[in-house]
């Protein structure tokens, strides 16, 4: 009797503890409730990006499959097989979030994490961007981590539509989805084509993602992205520099000059901006103006002093050579 009890009771006991905990947790889809009750201005009641392609996943390969669907929707032709070597971690039998973002960039899309909210998820879908979501379909104790692509929602039916696993169109109650999504900290990302800036991430998140995109994709591809982001945040220094540098790299000195001139007007104490403006002017043959600007950069001192001095020296020697000619 004693022995039998010892064998079964911890087993049953833990089941009851879990069930009790589950019942307590049952009413916690709070974002769903607030979204449904209060709604969001300008958010359509329903949306579905039904043209998003579907790639059924192989075992453990929901990461590459989700990424491929999202990239395809952004107009980038790539299959899940090609992405396996870019994101899959064999010993972990899955794919990790930072690498999902990096792989989006490697394939020519800007990968950005969206704010951890259901209304942000819905807003991206309404704006035409499918969202890769990380869910724990199971309980925290036996996690079942899964990437799916959210492509639609219906606030009246209280459902979300996913491309998930081997199901092309999985309709799930919003509250259930929220429970599975909450366990990843509401992690979701958009892989957007460079000219289209996702609508929900803040200025800092977008700027960081574009700088990372430049690092991976190079200045030619990122130029349109900087330009598009500047329309939303015209005074952002990094965006101005990024756009100016990309224009300069493409040999478009006129655009580069006007961008850096505006940036220098807005940030007159930034020696790096002045240095770049001077370099552009020197390339345009306007050596006197270039030397003036470079001298201003040198006079500011600070972390860019050495670079500014080098720029000033090379402008002066170019001017000397020019005089001799």
């Amino acid at each position: 009797m004693q022995g039998e009890r010892g064998r079964t009771s911890p087993w049953l006991g833990s089941v009851f503890v879990w069930l009790a905990a589950m019942l307590l947790l049952a009413g916690c889809a709070t974002q769903t409730q607030s979204l449904l009750m209060r709604g969001v201005p300008d958010l359509p009641r329903r949306a579905e990006l039904s043209s998003t392609p579907f790639h059924p996943q192989e075992r453990y390969q929901c990461g590459p499959a989700a990424l491929a669907m999202s990239l395809n929707a952004a107009g980038i032709a790539v299959g899940p097989e090609a992405l396996v070597s870019q994101v899959f971690v064999p010993a972990r039998e899955g794919s990790l979030q930072p690498e999902m973002l990096a792989a989006a960039r490697r394939n020519g899309a800007v990968g950005v994490v969206i704010p951890p909210r259901l209304d942000a998820l819905a807003a991206e879908i309404a704006a035409g961007n499918p969202v890769i979501v990380l869910q724990n379909l199971s309980l925290p104790l036996f996690p079942l981590w899964h990437y799916a692509v959210a492509i639609g929602y219906d606030l009246d039916a209280e459902t979300i539509v996913l491309r998930s696993g081997i199901t092309e169109r999985l309709e799930m109650p919003l509250s259930t989805f929220e429970n599975t999504w909450a366990r990843s900290g509401y992690w979701g990302m958009v892989a957007a084509p460079p000219g289209r800036i996702p609508v929900t991430p803040g200025e800092a998140a977008i700027v960081d993602s574009l700088v990372a995109f430049e690092r991976t994709a190079g200045s030619a591809k990122v130029r349109g992205a900087y330009q598009a982001a500047l329309k939303r945040w015209p005074d952002n220094l990094t965006l101005q520099v990024g756009f100016g540098n990309a224009a300069f790299a493409a040999g478009d000195l006129k655009t580069a000059e006007s961008v850096f001139r505006r940036a220098a007007d807005a940030h007159p104490k930034n020696a790096a901006v002045l240095n770049n403006l001077a370099t552009v002017l020197a390339d345009m043959g306007e050596l006197d103006r270039a030397a003036d600007i470079a001298a201003r950069a040198v006079a500011l001192g600070g972390p860019w002093q050495e670079e500014a001095e080098a720029t000033l020296r090379s402008i002066r020697s170019a001017r000397k050579a020019g005089v001799g000619r």
Partner: protein, 129 residues
């Protein structure tokens, strides 16, 4: 003649000193990433940390079964922040992979929680909510 020679020597010498300077600093555009980092006021300590993160992530990925070539390309694609996250949390970050390994006990519990709408493991369950 000697004036020309002196000028030539002078030019060569100044060219040498100039090369000496430009070995450390190029007269050129300052990159977007550098200006962004300086603007975001990320300290030198962070930068030193970031330099160490990438080799660490590379070693981690290889240990976890990624081939050397793939791992190198993957590390190169990471931002500093992503490299730092992976360096410190590669074993604890959730790996989305849809691992189906439920035991019978778990099956029953998850069936119940599926029906409660807390989980969504089984395709055949329909949440009561």
């Amino acid at each position: 003649m000697s004036a020309v020679k002196r000028a030539l020597v002078g030019a060569v010498l100044s060219a040498f000193t100039f090369v000496g300077f430009t070995q450390t600093v190029q007269a050129a555009m300052i990159g977007t990433e550098q200006i962004h980092a300086a603007n975001a006021a990320s300290g030198d300590r962070e930068k030193i940390g970031a330099a160490l993160d990438r080799p660490e992530v590379l070693a981690h990925l290889e240990r976890l079964g990624v081939s050397k070539d793939d791992a190198q390309a993957r590390v190169a694609a990471l931002s500093d922040e992503e490299a730092a996250t992976l360096a410190s949390q590669i074993d604890s970050l959730p790996a989305g992979g849809d691992i189906v390994g439920a035991l019978v006990l778990i099956f029953v519990i998850l069936l119940v929680t599926d029906i409660l709408g807390l989980t969504k493991v089984f395709p055949f369950t329909r949440s009561r909510r």
